[in-house]
Amino acid sequence: MTTGIELRDLRKLYDGHGATAWAVDGVNMRIGQGQFVTLLGPSGCGKTTTLRMIAGFETPTSGQILRDGIDITDQPVSDRDMRMVFQDFALFPNMTVAENVAFGLRTRRMKGRFSDAEIRRKVAEHLDLVHLGSHAGKRPHQLSGGQKQRVSLARALVTDPDVVLFDEPLGSLDAHLRKVMQIELIRLHRELNKTFIYVTHDQDEAMAMSDAIAVMNVGKVMQFGTPREIYDRPASRYVASFIGHAHIVDAVVAESRSDGLMVRLGNGEVVSLAQPAKVASGQSVGLMLRAEDLSLARPGEGELHGQVADSLYRGEYIEYVVELTGNAGLVHVHEPTDLPPFAHGAPVALKVNAQKAHVVEA
């Protein structure tokens, strides 16, 4: 028996409106107990639908959801003992903060499990956990967005579920608050040892918080792995360009050995990589070049050559847009601001970090 949640070939087709596209199209995933797993993808790729099927709000068209090896596909929402944190908070407006948090402890099915004193203690404890101890008596409309999200978090955690589901919980918060809440969520996950399944379209958020990320596109999981795997070894061109804004240049494998690769660009220049070979010589590939894996040098001092097409001062670094010679492609390079700047139109060479550059399917 495996503990945790397993999705087996999960599919969803919304009926009505002549819908013909699968909202979720064959998702397979294993989420171990205590993991922080993020579903990441652009808007409309089926993240919410997947999460809502796990929660029981939507019935899968086909496929199975297993919980600790037991099929829960048809289990009613209220029996699932997974708590959801909604993007719009979904706080009950007719109740105070404390009453909202106590709601899950006071349902009929919980009757007799906790005394009033215990409920009060648990509510107070969880309001403290999210730093809202002094707001217990307020109504939801008297709280800020960040505070509402904390209440919704406390309400989900107070019943001590094994699994907590999040649907873009920070989506409506401003950038600063989002950072604060990210750190808060990571802390809670570390302290509570619960499974967190998290939906977001923000790749920075996904990278920073998750044990594993499922990158989704049009209802499918494109890659499922640790943030490092996803970032350093994207399995496809789609994942590479979605995560970390990589630039991909067309190339052909010149030489493939067990300990590395040589690829040739359209302009004849050659780059060597430390990536173990999974591609054959002569195969067309995409060479993924990230800004932080490149550095500029004077002509002749690097593998690739080009011309500075643009430079943007970003404060932390200068971002150069470099057009490779022979129209081989466009790459971005981040350079420290204290180095002498390269002028617009200047011919430059590029040094490539062989450990980090990576090829994906053409």
Binding site: A55, V77, S78, M84, F92, N94, T107, R139
Partner: protein, 307 residues
Amino acid sequence: MAQAALSLPSQTGGARPAVRSARRIERRRMLLWLVPPIAWFTVFMLVPYALLFYYSLGQAEDMVFTPGLSLRNFARVFTDEPYLGVILKSARIGLMTSVLSAIMAYPLAFCLAFHVRSASLKFVLYLLVIVPWWASYLVKAYAWKTILGTGGILNATLQGLGLTHEPVRLFLYNEFSVVLTLTYIFTPFAVLSIYAQLERVPTSLIEAARNLGASAWEIVFRIVLPISVPGVIAGGIITFSLAFGDFVAPVLVGGPDSLMISNIVINLLGVAFDWPMAAAIGLVIIALGLALISLSGWLEEKTQVRL
């Protein structure tokens, strides 16, 4: 340069009176815009109320109106038979109608708001609620006569089933049939008012409650009902007012003793020619109505939750 500098003062000097006169014209034009509403208000509100008040202070002697300055008629509303009693009875019928309407309307509005997912089905059901209003009030009231009467559908069914052997007379010409008819006719108002409030409840609240393990009953009684109280009150006030002031149902399906206050007023006006008494009753009812609306407005405000 010099020319421009020279021309500046004269320009501003010239502009100021121009602005002022433009403002004056503007204000005059504004007054013009205000004439229609003020005229409407005077002709249709102030004058009738003033007339009503003028009549209520006078006397009717031998069916002829004599002006006066006496508050006697107002006292008679509360002391003479049957006025106060009928007002109270009308209020009772109004209250029963509004409560029954709310009970009838709530489940329908609830279904419409939460269970009907398809937009077109929602529209059709919504239309079905409103459509009876295209039929005449009289037709609808008469319909109940044919259902509840001694030779009516209900009695025929009961006899056909062998449950009764002779027509039951209890169904028609009493307060029960009046309340039933009024409830039938005015329930749509309650539906629309409650539905409007329920529509504001985000579905995520209901999903959150289900997710926290709440049963359907708990969702209704702890979340939906508390949030929808203002809609119920608003609908209740509308149905109460309509039922309270009704004069057709008591005549068509009511018994000899189920006349309501509007029937009394009509009799005073058209049969007894006691216009002063009718005016006094009218004013008392208007005052009661204002009090009721203020109270309900306050209650609605008080029970409204900020979503």
